[in-house]
Subunit: 231 residues, 2 copies
DNA sequence: ACCTGAACACCGTTCAAGT
DNA sequence: ACCTGAACACCGTTCAAGT
């Protein structure tokens, strides 16, 4: 169809783990989670499906490697934050934005076998938690809470991206969802109906950061008897 | 193998959506997320795979119905909580325990098409957020933060349950993970190594509740200028 | 109206055979 | 050492045919 201007010598390079992971990421980004297939991947790499297994043990490892590559890239972007709070916001927003670009990460990052990608985020969050002055015994809880909140939002965003056709934009998606909320049963969903307008008007990133600040306020409030600093 | 003492007349009842969902839940609980197959389900229901499609549009709807059935059951357990905080803890713990019994829910509850199961939890959380006296404009954010934290932990627990063979118990699993943390690269994972002992000793439920309390403290601190109430 | 089960179009993974 | 691609053992889903 269209002529390729990038990576002209693609079919000459030998197969490698890196090229495979790179192609997998491209496939996941363009075709979605269901688009990553050993056959499709093999075609993109101009080889047979069996060849991939010489470099990668299976689909699970491939998915994990792809997720790890993106997350590691996000974490390595060093920031010029002035406070630990600011550093945590930047860090969290980095993960949030990475999921926005690669929605499949949102569902994959939790799914990892207790290893790499999630641990990277945990480590970086934890360092800022330490910088915050949280006592040692409370650091694990604080970093976990932040991580779990981020993973929860990520999973949600991945699910939303999966449910929506590429055509629809953010505004009409939110509008449709809000309207659906307003039409719920008044007895069973009184609260949800009541905040439907807040769903319609909200900004994803702002809302995400507001949640981070809630957790951050909780962390500092519990360990500074002088009371929390306002946002 | 073993003789069945329950549901003796199983093969006489006609097929119904309810029986299909019930059988799907049993299959998911016993054989895991990969165990739910239209063929396995059909065998359990003493029919052909095609018959199921007359009652259910496909696997996605079936998974959603199974998740919704379990979540709805959890939410309907009414509590005798004395404070909104206590009600939220009970509510959250209910979801947590449901995921413990049915690990597949943890990954499925986020995956739903913006509908039922997640919305039930959101609604019940939101009512308690209102009871907490959170101003109207902040209710959506507060309920979302709690929900996302719960979903994050749920996804984590589902992933852990998937990665572990049924034989290993909680203690040795945590011990192995903590040891792995202690052997990480000291430069790259300084924080994680530092809190490995807290991973080893922690109790899942206690830790989960501590995270809830962090968010709860943040919510109340931001809206009560007199400062947060200690836990 | 409801069920049956063979058949279709896929998967991930393996493995003999090649270079 | 690395690649090939046919073959195996599965999937979800459809659909003509039955009752």
């Amino acid at each position: 169809m269209a002529t390729r201007t990038r990576r002209p010598e693609r079919r000459e390079e030998p197969l490698s783990r890196e090229r495979i992971v790179e192609a997998a990421i491209e496939l996941l980004d363009t075709a979605g989670e269901g688009g990553l297939t050993f056959r499709a991947l093999a075609e993109r790499l101009a080889t047979g499906p069996g060849a991939i297994y010489w470099h990668v043990t299976g689909k699970d490892e491939l998915l994990n490697a792809a997720t790890d590559a993106v997350v590691a890239d996000t974490m390595s972007a060093d920031t010029t934050a002035t406070t630990p709070q600011e550093a945590i916001r930047t860090l969290a927003l980095g993960v949030f934005d990475a999921i926005d670009v690669h929605p499949w990460i949102g569902s994959q990052i939790s799914r990892t076998p207790s290893q790499s990608p999630m641990l990277r985020v945990f480590e970086h969050l934890g360092r800022q938690v330490q910088a915050l002055g949280v006592p040692h015994t409370a650091q694990f809880t604080a970093a976990s809470a932040l991580l779990n909140y981020i993973l929860g939002v990520g999973g949600q965003n991945a699910a939303n991206a999966r449910g929506v056709r590429p055509g629809t934009n953010r505004t009409e998606f939110l509008d449709a969802a809000a309207t659906a909320w307003e039409n719920l049963d008044p007895d069973e969903y009184a609260f949800t109906r009541d905040v439907a307008d807040q769903l319609r008007d909200h900004d994803d990133r702002t809302e995400f950061l507001a949640g981070i600040d809630l957790v951050l306020t909780g962390i500092t409030a519990l360990h500074e008897p002088t009371g929390p600093a306002p946002s």
